[in-house]
């Protein structure tokens, strides 16, 4: 395990850290880098913010729903199934 990781390598670790799959050595190397690199520290924080925002978001009624064409198609399929 190398202790001095590049920014690129650190983004791989920071990404995998979001999924809880770092070894102890990887975690230490990542924190060492994050402590001295503002860019990577921001990247890591932004990954967390992105997740919070995506998970907090309930599907709102502003985004489009089913199109009329799709709705008719599905209704036909349901009808067909009911007739068999």
């Amino acid at each position: 395990m190398k202790w001095l990781t590049t920014c690129r390598e650190t983004t791989v670790l920071a990404s995998r850290a979001q999924d809880g799959h770092l070894t102890l050595g990887e975690r230490m190397a990542m924190h060492l880098h994050l402590a001295i690199c503002a860019n990577c520290a921001r990247f890591a924080r932004q990954l967390q913010a992105m997740r919070r925002l995506l998970r907090a978001d309930v599907v709102d009624a502003v985004t489009p729903g089913l199109s009329d064409a799709a709705r008719r198609r599905i209704e036909n399929e349901l009808q067909k199934k009911l007739e068999t």
Partner: protein, 187 residues
Amino acid sequence: MDTLDARTWLTEHGDYLFRVARRQLHSDALAEDAVQDTLLAALSARERYAGDASPRTWLTAILRHKIVDAIRRQVREVDLPRDEDGDEAVDALFRADGHWAEPVRPWGNPEAEAELSQLRRALDDCADRLKPLMAQVFSLREAAGMETAEICKELGITPTNCWVLLHRARLFMRQCLELNGFAGTQA
């Protein structure tokens, strides 16, 4: 249950199911198919619906399986990235020595109320622009909160494939948000 109920499901929950599916699948056509498959499956299984969950909860549970099925079908059609595959889009983000090519700009306060809805819209738009499987795995993990082990198992891909997809997706998402103006001046 009779005809009326199946139609009622479509009328009352069709839009909701579509929005959930659209957000995970990043494709109108795939999302429409998933809604249709869900309602057809619900129709076949309606005797087993005990009525202790609300219809929406029950339908959403079926939809989740249909969404995973749809993504699994995509896995067979797409070349999965591996670590050793160079990706020019990733290369462009870093210098040859592994440093960031451009500084990572701060976001200011992304949870500030005024920017929140814009930011959420931008998140959805940016995720839509990822490559299909990358977008879907990203959404299963980040929006739906599935564990990577579960994602790998359901989709039949290796953990390495999963991590490479997620790493790239996260890099591109961040870059896309920054390009869309979510870079403030605060720390």
